[in-house]
Symmetry: C2
Subunit: 281 residues, 2 copies
Amino acid sequence: MVPSRRPTIGVFDSGVGGLTVLRALLDRIPDAGYLYFGDTARLPYGSKSAATVAHYAVGAVRYLQDRGAELLVIACNTATALALDEIKAAAGVEVIGVVEPGAEAAAAATRARKVVVIGTDATIRSHAYRRALEARQVAVREKACPLFVPLVEEGWVEHTVTEQVARIYLSEAFADDAGDFNADVLVLGCTHYPLIKPLLRRVAPAHVTIVDSAESTARAVELQLGRQLKIEPSPSSINDERRGVPDLKFFATDSAEKFRMMGTRFLGLPVEDVVHVDLKE
Amino acid sequence: MVPSRRPTIGVFDSGVGGLTVLRALLDRIPDAGYLYFGDTARLPYGSKSAATVAHYAVGAVRYLQDRGAELLVIACNTATALALDEIKAAAGVEVIGVVEPGAEAAAAATRARKVVVIGTDATIRSHAYRRALEARQVAVREKACPLFVPLVEEGWVEHTVTEQVARIYLSEAFADDAGDFNADVLVLGCTHYPLIKPLLRRVAPAHVTIVDSAESTARAVELQLGRQLKIEPSPSSINDERRGVPDLKFFATDSAEKFRMMGTRFLGLPVEDVVHVDLKE
């Protein structure tokens, strides 16, 4: 992919989890400038009302726009589920959330028209994936996996404990006791989960396709950029040898140092240029 | 214990964890009125600055005082560690936190003068227990156990996964590789941990005494009430057949229904009279 000019993409999340979406974006669209906003002082969004989440998210995306973001990615399942419409209404540029691209990819991948979605309590309770998939005539079983985020944050991404927990959660999700629910797609509906994707691949039934919302979202962003900048998206860009040095800037509402340490694990690249931001309530 | 009159005790926590402290208070001082405030909409406090935690906690304890609390218990390790002095300065009544009573009980129990403290990341990073124990000439090893809270909230209090996690954490905490650190006391420095106390008892070295900050705090409250109301504390009150029906009122800043459901597990009693409170930021 050779853009006619280097676009600036704003990526917003409540914390570091959205860095897995940034990672997927970098793989697909390396020749862009990225501004990443992690609202680490106010996470988790899951326990907050839709109005509060919308208020926080709108403040953050305005901050990104003020710094030049021409396209916004809401790399946070909770913010997407609870506040995407309000964010779109407040933003002056195109906004892409993680739920629709994940649902679209799952609907395209399932032959059984039956999908399992895993995520945090908040995402599952919002039923955002259920709505998006049922609108595509796909039956959905949702399963909250509240231990995955703390296990990933503990760094236990290839740990026997995590594998044991995954076996319990997935066997419940794919069990047949609620009828003949034979899903053939597993949607990773949380930005932390790509870090345990190899483990989930081993634990999930062999016939199941894993859909990673982070990757699906990066693809949607690439398509949108193509429309905005009249660029042909190129599937080969993932392995493009000509990729530029990514231009990355990070903003965090809690400690910059903490963001740097934790962030490096999620991004798989050094997280260096972190600025602490104090947004007014 | 037969109080000359029924005192009203305010108990404050960021969530439902402090209900284990309320439980210990009910066991020890059944003939009191209790007002419990759970700031569930703004948890966890661990990722917030000391100034923000103090601001939230002061708002909550003022709310409890306005409703008649004559003595305040800060049943939250983070709020105690980060903001006890500010809460005391703002409160017009006696304030008891969880750290000092826990440290006092541990110092009294250790013969080796060596203690292990486990808690959340935030509590361990605050080093509040370390300071309180070192002031009592006790050496401390601190160990953050970030998976225990989500495991307890998942309800896995007697689960093989939790036991496996506890073996990993405690073997690191009691290991000898940092010298000849042979602690003989384990302090439960988190209000969620009393729910896994039987499991921790099995996993911890046999010679180790477990000190539960919740119980130590209840004892400190009993002593303070005795001073305030001129009542003789009675160790036999725990099994007192004449105990009154507890008078319990609950206030939560997030959903009352969610508090009711989760709270019943932590209190070990039905949580019924829950009022939703919307505190201004």
